[in-house]
């Protein structure tokens, strides 16, 4: 054992001498992560944008009075000014507190979609990729079918039937959009498992007498981590996309200022034609910000998981 570590120490010293790029690879998981952060500009930019978003929520929430997000806390449709930084809407809500209150709601919906999407994706993807045969065919066909069906259309039917009085709660909204966020994770994970289960190290593990579950959790899962992370972020993005779309159509929570609902009300009260740009521009920027953030993180993780992509960019 001691000999071995001495040997690895030596060899890593040799590698360090030979090239700087190889250095990070022979180090621990943490230094590896740090390495990618420094070298993956996309991932870094995405994480920084996410931090800024969280800061808006945590710090902004402390500095700005949440009461400002309520109706008639300010004048009607006032443009940005010293007292109301981002102006107010038709009902006298102040836009800035509205945004600080609304952005985390939208993120929360995305989080539900990410968790459910990834969870279902892992279960179906692993079952299909690992068992192959008929089970695989069924899972593949079902996920292909659901990819072809425009999920917004299905969600519109569901949400418009349920919508009554106060409409959906933020949590119900999250669960509804989450129910159609599993197709892409399933597809990606299945393809990965399918190719991984043929790889040599899985073969070795099997010959060593490892059971299926052990192989899945100790051999496949750790290697899939970046893929799983990227799938999680992807499912988040598709959930938020569906949620914001539904909300913009007026099918979201009626009393919670999610970003999509703010957009809906701004259209409803004719902000576009009345040139109340401060009403619809901030939520639009925030939503765009969220999508760019998720996109950068997902692409960064993809490149991490897929070294071939790294070279081509």
């Amino acid at each position: 054992m001691q000999d071995q570590s001495a040997e690895t120490g030596q060899s890593s010293a040799a590698i360090r001498a030979s090239s700087e790029a190889d250095e990070a690879r022979s180090y621990s998981a943490w230094s590896q992560i740090w390495y990618y952060f420094l070298h993956e500009r996309m991932l870094t930019a995405g994480v920084l944008m996410l931090v800024a978003l969280l800061a808006l929520w945590l710090i902004g929430g402390q500095l700005v009075d949440p009461k400002g997000a309520e109706p008639i806390s300010g004048p009607q449709a006032a443009p940005p000014q010293a007292k109301y930084w981002l102006g107010t809407d038709f009902n006298g809500r102040q836009i800035l507190p509205l945004m600080i209150h609304g952005a985390p709601l939208t993120l929360r919906i995305g989080l539900y979609a990410g968790i459910v999407g990834l969870g279902v994706g892992i279960i179906l993807g692993f079952i299909a990729g690992y068992m192959r045969g008929t089970v695989d065919a069924i899972v593949r066909i079902i996920s292909d079918v659901f990819i072809t069906i425009p999920s917004l259309a299905v969600l519109v039917v569901v949400a418009s039937t349920i919508k009554e009085g106060a409409g959906l709660s933020v949590n119900a909204m999250g669960l509804i959009v989450a129910s159609l966020a599993w197709m892409w994770p399933t597809r990606v994970i299945r393809a990965q498992v399918l190719s991984m289960r043929e790889s040599n190290y899985v073969e070795v593990a099997r010959l060593n007498g490892m059971g299926d579950f052990e192989i899945i959790f100790r051999e496949l899962m750790p290697n899939l981590l970046p893929f799983l992370a990227a799938s999680f972020v992807g499912a988040m993005a598709s959930g938020i996309l569906a949620a914001v779309g539904l909300e913009a159509l007026g099918l979201g929570p009626q009393h919670e200022p999610t970003l999509g609902m703010t957009i809906y009300w701004s259209i409803y009260y004719g902000a576009l034609l009345s040139n109340w740009w401060w009403w619809y521009v901030p939520p639009t920027i925030l939503v765009a910000w969220i999508f760019v953030t998720l996109y950068l993180i997902a692409s960064g993780l993809d490149k991490w998981a897929n070294p071939r992509l790294r070279q081509s960019l």
């Binding site: 069906i149 009554e164 779309g245 999508f291 760019v292």
Partner: protein
């Protein structure tokens, strides 16, 4: 192209349409027990449009549409009416049938979707291919990151930015700044007979912003995919051979490079179809473009149940058909798939 391949694709198409119609039939009924006809009647009564005999009318509606029957009978009835292309009658614009409403709106959506996809696909693929090829212009390299940043943003979000910049007056805009229309597909109150040049120009002007918001968001996506494929293609032996044979560079680029790299793009297009159509629906609603999106929104606002159903169904069938067509065209242009299939 073998019979098995066609059979599998058509089977998939039928499965998609059947599953989608089934899901949208059962889900709302499981989720709630609202009665759209009764609600509509109550709404009309509240506005004074209907005073007496409401119960009778509701009962007649329920009988006509089979709402009083057990669920499985309703389902069979619904499936057979969908097969016949009968999508019931609008509750608000009674007795206009849903099919009539859709036929009136569908051309606008088809035009907008078709035009935007075509332009975005062509622009994106061409610039992506150019970027992967040696000697790509520097300005293109500078533009790509901008489009890549725009690509994850939903179309209708870009619509708001475009409206902010090109459709409303601000102090920072100079005199000559173009102001584009943001509502409808032609000037309000103008009645055209036939398609003369003025009308075409009017329609084009009204389509600039909706189409741009879709195109701007898509170009980056197609460019990125094409660039990746083209890098692989550029390294292929047959490209090197073509160069050694002294073929003209543009011929190598087009016939040897693009033609091969373009094929996976078509697969992506088939997979992205449902997302694109969902996005276009929202863009139409923002711009009050008289397509399926606005129809859907008005139906949601007035809880015009059958119209919501009809629009959603037609959209699903439209996406499934587009996917089927792409699947069937694919082997025709890719001999490798033709042989394997």
């Amino acid at each position: 192209m073998s019979i098995t391949y066609i059979g599998a694709r058509v089977g998939m198409f039928i499965l998609v349409v059947w599953l989608a119609t089934t899901v949208i039939f059962f889900l709302p009924r499981i989720a709630s027990d609202r009665n759209p006809v009764r609600e509509r009647m109550i709404m009309m009564a509240a506005t004074g449009n209907l005073s007496t005999g409401m119960e009778k009318v509701v009962a007649a509606y329920e009988r006509d549409y089979g709402l009083d029957q057990p669920l499985y009978l309703q389902y069979i009835r619904y499936l057979s009416s969908v097969l016949r292309g009968d999508l019931n009658v609008s509750l608000i614009r009674h007795p206009t049938t849903v099919m009539d409403l859709i036929q009136e709106r569908m051309p606008w959506t088809l035009g907008l979707v078709g035009f935007s996809i075509l332009v975005a696909f062509a622009l994106g693929s061409l610039s992506g291919a150019t970027l992967a090829w040696p000697g790509a212009p520097t300005w293109l390299k500078g533009v790509l990151p901008i489009f890549l940043t725009l690509s994850p943003i939903p179309y209708f979000m870009l619509a708001f930015f475009l409206i902010f910049i090109f459709a409303v007056r601000h102090e920072w805009q100079p005199e000559w700044w173009p102001m584009l229309p943001i509502a409808g597909a032609s000037k309000v109150g103008t009645i055209y007979d036939g398609w003369d040049l003025a009308r075409v120009w009017d329609v084009v002007r009204h389509s600039i912003l909706p189409a741009s918001s879709i195109i701007l968001s898509q170009v980056g996506f197609w460019a990125l995919g094409m660039r990746g494929m083209m890098i692989t293609t550029a390294g292929e032996d047959y490209v090197t051979l073509a160069q050694m044979r002294g073929l003209r560079p543009d011929r190598i680029f087009g016939q040897y490079g693009m033609r091969n790299a373009l094929l996976p793009q078509l697969t992506s297009l088939a997979l992205a179809m449902s997302l694109i159509v969902s996005g276009v629906i929202l863009v139409e609603y923002i711009f009050r473009y008289p397509g399926m999106g606005s129809l859907l929104f008005d139906a949601i606002a007035g809880f015009d149940y059958f119209v919501i159903y009809g629009v959603v169904l037609v959209l699903i069938i439209f996406v499934a058909t587009a996917t089927l067509v792409l699947d069937l065209v694919y082997p025709l242009i890719d001999p490798r798939v033709r042989r394997a299939a």
